[in-house]
Amino acid sequence: MTAGGQPNLPTAGSGVVSPRIPPSLASRVFGGRRERADGPRFGRVKSLFFLVLLAGISVLAIYPFLWLISASLKPQGDVFDNRLIPKNWQWNYTGDPSAVLGDEKLFALPDVPIEKWFLNSVWIGILAALLVAFSSAIVAFAFAYFRFPGRNALFALILATMMLPGAVTMIPIYLLWNEVSLLTGETGRLSFMPDIGVNTQYPLWVPNLFGSAFYIFLLRQFFLGMPRDLFEAARIDGDTYWTMFRRIALPLAKPALIVVFIFEFQAQWFDLLKPLIYLRDVALFTMPLGLKTILDQQGQGGGGEGRWEIIMAGTVVTVLPMLVLFAIFQRYFIQGIATQGRKG
């Protein structure tokens, strides 16, 4: 693999780099795109049989979603009638905020600022994902490109930290943030700083400034797949290590960075534990914690009395953004997951 096939080798001061990703690069690292490769295939009859079987299993995979959407459009008494098409339709999402107690719609529930929770999750998710993608890329690039004493030992250490259960570090990290709480804010010694400790959203994304083991591993694999000549050429053109990283490595790693972004956004959108630990003010909640709050508030009594149509509407609102994201970035989801199984 030489850089000869690379039409636009960036030169120093050339301003805009046009990093056309070598078509082989993404597939070489991800190993995707080899759809019709090998292995025996089924004949016609067998194929038909398995198609029917898969269709049946698909129903199992899809059904909970359909049940959810349908239940969110039913009146209270019909939620558990398990019909896919509601007998009586009822819009449970928006409505008059001054409705009688016990009759409010999802977006008008008292003490449930759901649109705020939604935006909190979106903003934390995007910020956390951007930060972790960038910081992990810097570290990953160093492990892929530089040869330095301690490299292998440190990389082994990174891999080892992946094994450490979050439960072990969870409590001391909380106590650290508790200390930060005491230091910052108006009453603290660092009173010029805003309160960034417990009961703020900072603990949810600040750790992402320092990279994350799994993403470092994934991105390093990707950087290793890039032809080294590309970097050597940039060095000869007078790039510093940093500009070389920023103008060549980073743009070329876009597919992998998107994977990291999506994984981290999903992780933030899924996480219940950290918001549960750090957030007290209802206005700061994220969507998962908000949904749990709705469940606790409206779900009393298990099946009968609870307002499950509202809970279902809240669940739909929580599930939907991930479905949209998946619809747009499906390729990256699948490729990212498939890469994980490759030689860890």
Partner: protein, 327 residues
């Protein structure tokens, strides 16, 4: 290795190796490299190394709500927290629950994922469509899954019991009967099999066709081909998912906490049946602020996970085949 040639005159001993190692720090590149990995180094020291030692230290102290508030001094209590672990019946319950759940869900998940991947790898068309469909549950937030468990497995009205009833089977009260809470959690976990399936699918696609051809020529039927070609070739992927799913299973929190714990008890009359290790740890640490005790629990969990993983490695060593590996 270039630097090895430079010092080849020196006897290859520990001293020369150390010197060679340190000579690396005379290179400018080394300093740049360390500057690049600085974010991770800071993060490691602050968010991994220090917390590990701190948590180990706390586990030998009486650190609790009074000590956090500063009303009482922190004292070292030796192994008292660990002894308490043994005495607390709920620790045992939570560990047992977590094991039962993991043992029920992980193999089932692996088998379903493998079955689906085997079919998808060989089907002539629509494989991409089905792959997408089977992956969809994996992008469902765990809180939503916890809620789905409550409604789909509802004993009186749930669809699961409706379907069972259709076949004349009286369904159990999944979400309230202590015996059926963990099975329903495990069954629901099979729903999110898509990611594992995608990993297997990628592994299956990487099996070279000539191996199958050679096996067929040697007269191997479909079963022999599966056991002697497919399984060994994808065994690294199987092993990888086995480890990862087990580690995840042993730390289950979100779904269970959503469905059975929190302020409004929505599910079981006896939530002890759903009490998972991390759930109990979370309650001890952040609801009762028994920091010392919870830290001891965390280390117990860590040791348990290490032992389980080590056993998995030992057992699988002969079963996993790495292509191109020397040993």
């Amino acid at each position: 290795m270039a630097s090895a040639a430079a010092t080849s005159n020196a006897a290859p001993g520990p001293q020369s190796r150390a010197r060679r190692w340190f000579s690396g720090f005379r290179e400018r590149e080394t300093w740049y490299a360390y500057a690049f990995i600085l974010p991770w180094v800071i993060g490691f020291l602050l968010l991994t190394a220090y917390p590990m030692f701190a948590s180990l230290y706390y586990s030998f102290t009486n650190y609790g709500i009074e000590q956090v508030a500063g009303f009482a001094p922190t004292e070292r209590v030796g192994l008292a927290n660990y002894r308490e672990l043994l005495d607390d019946p709920r620790v045992q319950t939570s560990l047992t629950n977590t094991f039962i759940y993991t043992v029920m869900s992980v193999p089932a998940k692996m088998m379903v994922a493998l079955g689906l991947a085997l079919i998808l790898a060989r089907i002539v068309f629509a494989a991409g469509f089905f792959r997408t469909v089977f992956y969809l549950p994996d992008i469902t937030p765990p809180v939503a899954i916890g809620i789905l468990i409550l409604v789909l497995f509802n004993g009186s009205f749930g669809i699961v019991n409706d379907v069972l009833g259709f076949f004349g089977i009286p369904g159990p009260f999944w979400t309230t009967d202590p015996d059926w809470i963990k099975p329903s959690l495990a069954i629901m976990s099979i729903w999110t099999v898509g990611g594992t399936m995608v990993i297997y699918l990628a592994a299956l696609k990487a099996v070279p066709a000539h191996l199958y051809e050679a096996a067929s020529m040697d007269g191997a039927g479909p079963w022999r081909r599966f056991f002697n070609v497919t399984l060994p070739m994808i065994s690294p992927a199987l092993f990888f998912t086995f480890i990862v799913l087990t580690i995840h299973g042993l730390q289950t929190f979100n779904e269970v906490y959503t469905a059975y714990f929190g302020e409004g008890q929505t599910g079981a009359e006896d939530p002890d049946a759903a009490l998972m290790n991390v759930v109990y740890l979370f309650r001890q640490a952040f609801e009762f602020f028994n920091i010392g005790f919870a830290s001891a629990m965390a280390w117990l969990l860590f040791v348990v996970i290490m032992i389980v993983t080590a056993v998995q490695f030992l057992v699988s060593r002969r079963l996993v085949f790495y292509q191109g590996a020397q040993k």
